[in-house]
């Protein structure tokens, strides 16, 4: 038994704390904690909606220390990653980031994440759930590749919102305004190195900051000092979930069930079903799931994840989707839904049988009003564009910077 367990019999039940915890705990006025990969993790700090508006109107930080990070290096690193993910990793230039998914042999999504190319033969893969065992499997047969779990070594902070560039500039990151979306740049920071990528999960202007664990707090303090006149604010899972849904991004356990963890047959999803066909590169000779995906592409996909704009203002949470107003023919189900304060629309992502996408689409929405249950049928319109995609998210330099 470890010493800690002797003094605190509940030590094993308590969650790990991220390097930013001391600052985040002080700002978590509502004590609203949940967990992510064994870390104590904020659902929100003050108010989910308030924090959401920090992302859309000002700037906010989101702790991504609990996210999994793997350093993959060696002469075979690119080839190994190329076998694992559906996208062509060889195309990824140094100091660039790309969004990827990887599948099992049946072409079902194991997880999604990002690959950072840090050097000639050096990559970092990030993802929501631990994936080491799968990566090791993908590395079979490659001699010159090492995989290292660096999740607990790096302090990482997502920094999102329209004023983020201005704040980073104020923090002394010279030239940050010239960093393009999905680019990476390094800055000296208090004797160490701060890596900044122009990435994020909010569909807005934003960056992710990466630094060695022990410098995490110093970085936090410098960022918060620079962000003070910009009302910098930490935000939690709830605000993230709102922002990512407006951006049309998928979430594990919402839009997809990780293939390695599903019990029931085909209760997981393929990239095509998730409307991520653009991530699948059949020009590559081989990658995990290629054959199954090729077959699916020829056959046509049964379901397609679809963005819906729904009439009225009742969120269509967990709604069933029908082809007809009378709700006789079910054609799908909603995976995530909300009222979008930015777009002023009642939005949802839904898995819908592909063959019915061109026809009328209706949602049956259950809602409650002062303890009484109500239901209504609402007309849905398919939206091709993300609900929120401001030009500043792509502009270089970003406006006001």
């Amino acid at each position: 038994m470890s010493e800690a367990m002797q003094t605190d019999p509940y030590a094993g039940e308590r969650l790990k704390e991220s390097p930013f915890h001391p600052r985040q705990a002080a700002l978590n006025l509502r004590e609203a904690w949940s967990s992510w990969n064994g870390y104590r993790f904020a659902e929100y700090y003050y108010d989910p909606e308030y924090e959401y508006f920090c992302i859309r109107n000002g700037c906010g930080t989101y702790d991504i220390c609990p996210m999994q990070k793997y350093r993959i290096s060696g002469a075979d690193a690119a080839a190994m990653l190329d076998r694992m993910v559906t996208r062509d990793v060889h195309k990824l230039a140094i100091d660039r980031v790309t969004y990827v998914v990887w599948c099992n042999d049946e072409g079902r999504v194991v997880d999604d994440g990002t690959i950072f190319r840090l050097g000639e033969q050096e990559y970092m893969l990030t993802c929501g759930s631990p994936c080491l065992a799968w990566i090791r499997k993908a590395a079979y047969g490659y001699e010159q590749v090492t995989v290292e779990d660096v999740s607990d070594e790096i302090a990482a902070l997502s920094f999102q919102g329209p004023t983020t560039c201005a704040v980073l500039k104020r923090m002394g990151l010279e030239g940050i305004e010239t960093l393009k979306p999905f680019g990476i740049r390094r800055f000296p920071f208090q004797g160490g190195e701060l890596m900044v990528s122009r990435t994020g999960f909010t569909g807005d202007l934003g960056y992710e900051l990466w630094i060695e664990k022990d410098r995490g707090l110093a970085m936090w303090d410098a960022l918060y000092a620079a962000g003070e006149p910009y009302q910098i604010q930490p935000y939690g899972e709830e605000a993230t979930n709102m922002a990512r849904l407006e951006a049309g991004f998928i979430m594990p356990d919402m839009e997809f069930a990780e293939a390695l963890k599903t019990v029931h047959f085909e209760h997981d999803q393929t990239p095509f079903e998730l409307d991520l066909g653009w991530l699948v590169d059949f020009k590559k000779p081989h990658f995990n799931g290629r054959r199954a995906l090729l077959e699916e592409k020829e056959r046509g996909t049964r379901y397609t994840l679809t963005k819906l704009d729904i009439e009225g203002n009742k969120p269509a949470e967990s709604s069933w989707i029908y082809r007809d107003r009378d709700c006789t023919k079910q054609i799908g189900y909603v995976t995530s839904a909300m009222w979008s304060p930015a777009a002023k629309a009642n939005i949802a992502l839904a898995m819908i049988e592909t063959e019915y996408l061109d026809g009328p689409i209706w949602a049956w929405i259950d809602y409650e009003k002062e303890l009484r249950q109500y239901g209504k049928v609402a007309r849905c319109t398919v939206s091709k564009r993300a609900f929120w995609a401001p030009p500043r998210a792509r502009a270089t330099p970003p406006p006001d910077c």
Binding site: F53, N57, G58, A166, P229, Q233, G312, A342, A343
Partner: protein
């Protein structure tokens, strides 16, 4: 010579909303605006380098979501951000904080009166219930109860049904609403002077009534019936200032092919054979159109830009007597830093809401007494917000701007009209009151804009500076707005319409008057309706 399908006089936000819906229906529409900027009383202007003021209106809650959504104003650049609670300043340094969290707010109220803390729940439920009814009338044309057409009968039945749904007890209450004072109404709920006074202030904003005057209860309701994202009674800020609302409406209008001409004041509406035929600008240019829509208030429309010979005499008289008394001032201040207020904790969220410098019910009533005598009180009611505390676009980093709305400020002083010296003295009074709550405040001032009703009338064209384009009293509401018999946006001259806040549902940045007017115009022209139905029925 080009002939437009419609000309809208005035690029106030209601003029723009009417124009957008007409243009959306395929009409060729021209908006003519006297100023070199658009927006009327929903405007943002940079008067001091780096600081953007919302010169008139400053907070938003009435803008109908249905319009925002239908015209896709978000894509045209509009973002509304809700704000947190309001701080109320009472007597002798007493401060009541407005916490955002329900539990914390309750605890804070209890500090003043456990009774009132409980009563607040009932108060909020009641206000919410009354709002439900009013909200349902906002995007509908009031029926004419005296000379009803079939459509009016439908509307009367609709209103009757909604009204009936309130329940018997509430119906009595509701009728009393229009005739009660804010003070009487609140007596039924609260006992602590500051709780009561802080709840009473929405009852006097923009009106020439006092907390004790019959009718102020309705004004109170008018200010809490709006919402931000469905949260009734909540207020928010437009990112970039209130002008962002007008700009988004203008952008939507232009996306439908609409045209806006600035610095084009209208001298007169052209009438030929009893029909509106276009406008003459002050520079003598004549522009023709099949339909003319006035965004100006009713008094201005009929007494300033129309030839009385073109009008039935009765209407000119009605317009002259239209109740449109100016009663508010506005002081916009650029600050080099955030003021520190006595007895307000250094809490990073606390400045992200409103601040109400009140005193007591008596302070409010005394200030009203001054107004009646053509003076301003040396202890006026000030409702403030510091938008820069959560809008990064309106002040340079570290700098702030403070919007101060002052009730009361007379349109004319007892000793004659406003002069720049008197205006500045009025501004000084406001600063002095704030300074009493925030020592050192005046040292932070970089620039300020003081606006009495006189400036508001000169710049925005609101007669007497009345912020609502006419009092919101029962004799000027619903089917009486602006005048009985003319509440359906049609004016006594054929092809002439009104679309400003002088029409139903009245003042505030709601865009509904314009949208409702457009619907009536399209109906007369037998064109398909482009105006959406309100989505508040979903509540």
């Amino acid at each position: 010579m080009k002939r437009y399908d419609a000309i809208v006089i005035g690029a106030g936000h209601n003029g723009l909303s009417a124009a957008a819906y007409l243009a959306k229906a395929g009409m060729e529409v021209l908006v003519v605006e006297k100023n070199d900027y658009i927006g009327g009383a929903a405007v943002s202007r940079e008067l001091h380098d780096g600081w953007t003021y919302s010169n008139c209106s400053y907070v938003c809650s009435m803008l109908r979501q249905a319009i925002h959504r239908d015209l896709d104003l978000s894509r045209h650049g509009l973002m509304l951000v809700p704000y947190l609670g309001t701080i109320s300043y009472g007597l002798n340094g007493e401060v009541m904080l407005g916490y955002h969290d329900e539990g914390a707010a309750h605890n804070e109220l209890k500090r003043f009166s456990p009774h009132d803390a409980d009563a607040m729940h009932r108060f909020e439920a009641d206000m919410n219930r009354y709002s439900q009814f009013i909200r349902k009338t906002l995007m509908r044309t009031p029926p004419d109860p005296v000379a009803p057409k079939i459509r009016d009968i439908h509307e009367l039945l609709f209103l009757g049904k909604q009204f009936w749904n309130l329940g018997e007890r509430e119906i009595y209450e509701y009728i009393r609403f229009f005739t009660m004072s804010a003070s009487e109404f609140l007596d039924d709920y609260f006992e602590h002077y500051l709780v009561k006074a802080s709840m009473a202030t929405p009852g006097i904003i923009g009106t020439a009534l006092g907390v004790e005057s019959p009718g102020s209860a309705y004004i109170l309701l008018h200010h809490v019936m709006g919402d931000v994202d469905g949260s009734i009674g909540a207020w928010g800020l437009a990112r970039g200032g209130m002008g962002a609302i007008s700009h988004a409406l203008a952008s939507a209008f232009q996306s439908f092919g609409g045209e806006i001409r600035r610095e084009a004041p209208v001298a007169q509406v052209l009438v030929q054979h009893g029909r509106a035929n276009g406008v003459v600008l002050e520079n003598g240019d004549e522009i023709y159109a099949n339909v003319v829509v006035s965004n100006l208030d009713a008094k201005r429309t009929f007494t300033k830009i129309m030839d009385p010979k073109d009008l039935p005499p009765g209407i000119v008289k009605k317009a002259e007597n239209y109740k449109i008394r100016g009663s508010s001032g506005k002081v916009n201040i650029a600050l080099s830093g955030l003021p520190k207020f006595i007895n307000v904790p250094d809490n990073r969220y606390i400045n992200r809401g409103g601040q109400a410098f009140i005193g007591s019910m008596e302070t409010l009533e005394r200030a009203y007494d001054c107004w009646k005598r053509g003076r301003w009180s040396d202890d006026p009611f000030i409702e403030s917000v510091i938008p820069s505390a959560w809008d990064p676009t309106v002040a340079p980093p570290g700098g702030h701007w403070m919007s101060n709305f002052i009730q009361y400020c007379p349109p004319e002083l007892e000793d004659g009209p406003w002069t720049p010296e008197k205006r500045d003295a009025f501004g000084k009074t406001v600063i002095d009151k704030i300074e009493r709550h925030a020592p050192g405040f005046s040292d932070l001032i970089e620039h300020m804009e003081v606006r009495t009703p006189y400036e508001i009338e000169q710049e925005v064209g609101l007669t007497e500076g009345n912020i609502f384009q006419g009092e919101l009293t029962i004799d000027q509401l619903l089917f009486n707005r602006p005048f009985p018999g003319y509440a359906q946006y049609r004016m006594p001259v054929k092809n002439l319409y009104m679309c400003g806040s002088s029409t139903h549902p009245g003042g505030g940045v709601s865009a509904t008057c314009g949208a409702n007017a457009a619907r009536e115009i399209l109906m007369d022209l037998k064109r398909p309706n482009t105006v959406p139905e309100d989505d508040c029925y979903d509540e």
